[in-house]
Symmetry: C2
Subunit: 366 residues, 2 copies
Amino acid sequence: MKIGLLGFGTVGSAFYALARECDQTEIARLLVLEKLPQVACEQTTDYADIVNDPAIDTVVELIGGLHPAYEFVTAALKAGKNVVTANKQLVCACYDELIALAEQNGVALRCTAAAGGGIPWLHSLARLTPCDRITAVSGIMNGTTNYILSAMTDQGTDYADNLREAQRLGYAEADPTADVEGYDARRKLVLSANIAFGVSIREEEVPCFGISGITAQDIAAFKRLGLVCKLIAHAELTVKGVAACVEPVLFPVSGQMAHVNGPDNLISLKAQRVGVQSFAGAGAGGFPTASNVLADCLEIMDGCAPFYVRERKPLSVQNDGLRQRYYVRTADGTDSRLLTVREAHALAATYKNNQQPFFMAAVAEE
Amino acid sequence: MKIGLLGFGTVGSAFYALARECDQTEIARLLVLEKLPQVACEQTTDYADIVNDPAIDTVVELIGGLHPAYEFVTAALKAGKNVVTANKQLVCACYDELIALAEQNGVALRCTAAAGGGIPWLHSLARLTPCDRITAVSGIMNGTTNYILSAMTDQGTDYADNLREAQRLGYAEADPTADVEGYDARRKLVLSANIAFGVSIREEEVPCFGISGITAQDIAAFKRLGLVCKLIAHAELTVKGVAACVEPVLFPVSGQMAHVNGPDNLISLKAQRVGVQSFAGAGAGGFPTASNVLADCLEIMDGCAPFYVRERKPLSVQNDGLRQRYYVRTADGTDSRLLTVREAHALAATYKNNQQPFFMAAVAEE
């Protein structure tokens, strides 16, 4: 396989190292902003050199972000090249369009590393869908927030201190918004749900309540109740459509979920035939993510089906049907309320708009 | 895909139902001991009708056991038919020979359901091997023993009572030897290690110490120490070769492993690039297992590579290198000893040969 590699950041440079070790792949050309002295392969700063090179059969996009990744990926598909990407923002926003382009041009589009880092999660969903009816996908899909919540629980320390520590360790970015507000987890959730259920829900339909408002006092209150807080992305098929949200959830300390610590991910599916299956591991990081990208490349070489969902059911997000107990903390104190997901997130939005203190967490069913 | 299905037991009948629902697969003929009135497809009691039918491209073997499964599978491969099987006993004993036959005849041989039931475990190992160096495989690979140990831990009851309850619930067979002595887990371990490490270790090289000697007093002693007992199959690459064994292991109650309860499996791999990845779910049962068999069939149809390991390193089992702390209980009382895996299992064999009471469990490292 002759690869045009876009990007040489954390994942890009790890992929470069792995692909050079593998005897089935060759990095024919690398797109960089500025040529790098430490790289042995041919480099270019002009994408045209890659998309117009007939020797390159596969483009590996590891730039991230919507632009210019979108332009590069669509041009590659139109030029009849396979695309492998770890770009969750891109595939979440444009999955249907990109899959249609890949089909029209008879090439493959794979993105296993876009959710779960090194975990073969999307791959396993795609493997299961023709054999079973998946009814829920759920879990810890963001390592940064799990690191922060684990540290707050272990040490009783404040949110701000642990966010700084996560930034120092490289788990959180300088602008942590996408992680701590749940937007990163939401992208992975949308991608997972669309593949698992064969639907086309959109990011903006899914309500998201993150952990930036959590306090050491909240954590202490959960501890007294024997509960541990995790940021959970959840989607399930209901009679009305797809219920989906990202929100903090409280789990009993005696259960498995409470013991997933640090930056790890734990993601589960529920299906009619196989029941509940869980996948855990490093949800981010250069080498784990790059390894999943390389595995996608090798499966394309082997001739496996391009990774996508054949049918698309016209279901949208409907959060009226899912009713849960919520821990709610406002300036007036804490209480417990039975709310639908729609009601809970509407309440959160009201407090946010009024800039009043607020935190909520759903209580997991046993 | 036109399938010749061998067997109509728990997994066979579940596969029959799934394959008939799937629009890409057709059960062309079913091999049974005696024709069944409730089955709509063509039936035969003579395997020659299947192996000589040129319309059948794939044989799905769900009879189990070594014979006549071995004769049927080798004949199918020689006749140029793909084989999908869930038969761990067969693939564990004859993997190299069967893979060579499949290669010679240009067909696929897949057996994802042979370890982990519905979990895409062997599939994920095979996906990872060309991208990373897997250095360990480990976990709860037998649901029956995990059910018994969980129940003993929860209720403080005796081994014999819980074995009877497991038999009543259908988790254990009338002759529970293969489960409780660890032989079932050992087969799955050998298969996992051979695929993960690219080696050819054999069942009889791997020492096995089961749970039939455990008492309610042992469990109570573990509880006082904050430990939970699980039957673990473990293999890792060492400087000397492959260290591999099946034995009870004690985990801290505060960790994840202690909370895998009932008949579920939890299996992990450790690799240089992706770190530790875990897979959990139903490790047995008709529909979960059948779903994994069907997924293998569909991947063969899609043209994915036949599932096997390309290289075979000439490594054998060497248990001198792995030293652990063991809880040891004899007629003289209990104590804690630092032993190599080889020493521990030699000690167990001595007590067994002398028919003296003995139980041991390794203490997991933090």
